[in-house]
Subunit: 257 residues, 2 copies
């Protein structure tokens, strides 16, 4: 589809010409990332090939590899960009909230759930990172990506802790890390191919396979937020928690967590 737009055409016009000046190189990289993004949103990350991206940009596959190590590095760069946009969305959704105000847990749960549900590319990319992307790029590229993704998680944990000052920074990190993993896993379940979506919808026995992403993420966020304080170590008596300190011999604690 980019072929009908500016960047695709531009890149096509200069096909097989090597971008030498830094701004030319940056422009070509942006065209490649834009094409990969469009194809991934249309067909799903798993289905996008290096050749498909090169065709979309209008350059030869070998030319594309002057700008990125591998197909996986292209998607790792896209994931890093998605994390940056996601961080901005959390600031936009929570920076104005009054710390500890009534409803702050519901607000955090809703903003976090929407921040993922409104980013299909990020959700699709999340499970691909550890499974594929990080395995097919240089350690240096993984390091750059990790500094971005871990930085985004840490910054968002801080945004949440400002709204929920009753939670520790570590608890906010536990919460948002679990939500990111769940968003990636749940998005895949919530977006089966049409033939399977029809299969699940048609068979009452398969109804639990039909997952609605936003309410599922919001609900899990509410459960996690509600459990962080009562699950503190040393454990406190409370609803859903009936453990006197050090009771079960099997209840070894997570270090730091």
């Amino acid at each position: 589809m980019r072929r009908d737009q500016g960047p695709g055409v531009t890149a096509g016009d200069t096909a097989f010409q090597r971008a030498r000046r830094p701004e030319q190189k940056r422009q070509r990289q942006d065209a490649i990332l834009g094409a990969a993004r469009q194809l991934a949103l249309r067909d799903g990350v798993r289905a996008v090939t290096l050749t498909g991206i090169a065709d979309e940009v209008g350059i030869h596959k070998s030319a594309l590899l002057r700008y990125f190590e591998t197909r996986e590095q292209i998607f790792l760069e896209l994931t890093a960009g998605e994390w940056r946009g996601w961080t901005a969305a959390l600031h936009a959704g929570l920076d104005a909230a009054r710390p500890g105000a009534p409803g702050s847990a519901a607000l955090v749960a809703d903003v976090v759930a929407r921040s993922f549900a409104s980013r299909p590319l990020l959700c699709d990319l999340i499970p691909h990172t550890a499974l594929n992307l990080e395995r097919h790029v240089s350690p240096d590229a993984v390091r750059r990506y990790k500094l971005t993704s871990l930085g985004a998680i840490r910054e968002v944990a801080g945004v949440i802790q400002r709204v929920r000052p009753d939670l520790s920074e570590g608890e906010c990190l536990e919460f948002i890390s679990a939500m990111a993993s769940l968003a990636g896993a749940t998005w895949q379940m919530a977006n089966p191919p049409p033939v399977l979506a029809d299969l699940y919808a048609a068979d009452p026995q398969l109804a639990p396979a039909c997952v609605d992403l936003l309410p599922r993420l919001r609900r899990t966020a509410e459960i996690l937020l509600a459990g962080l304080i009562p699950s503190r170590n040393p454990p406190r008596a409370g609803p859903g928690r009936r453990r006197p300190a050090g009771s079960s011999p099997r209840s070894r604690r997570s270090p730091g967590a």
Copy 2:
């Protein structure tokens, strides 16, 4: 490695002979599944090819496809078997527990965390199911698989509810469904290739990328269990929860959840 054991050799002896009797067919299918399991445990699911499995069994790839639709169907069958073993482990770990006894939440969290952490093949397979496996088999094979996986989740939810009678069946389903998704996602993060494990260990900035599977799963299970009751709708005041009923206009509820 199976080549050094019974099944591999047996299959090798009968290479290119077609198994016609039901028990022969079953034996051949078991040899194929056993070889796929060994290779997946050694190299990771992502790295195992149909040719690799055929070589391990000692039959031709085309012969292998008489017994399974695709590479993905072989792994979907393995996943179904893993869910059955996992269900048995939950029964073994929790059927003797006294309902609602002190420490029951810690016990459930520990048994559930161990049930995944001790099953690397199941954890590796979980993210592959929606991402790859279910997309490359017939709808009928997906349906058979889903009935097994959904049945396992439902049965384990019942096992947990017996130990935690204060939770509803729906809450136990929410809990174990989230834990299964987290086990799949977290296992991938906890098992990076050696070059990345070294990278993460060497750089203090990347320390958060080092994940210890069992304590992480146990801790998240404890948080989820602690949050299920306080997050009930209508919401109740309580630790980590300061929302008077119907306060935030954004706090739409998950249908059924």
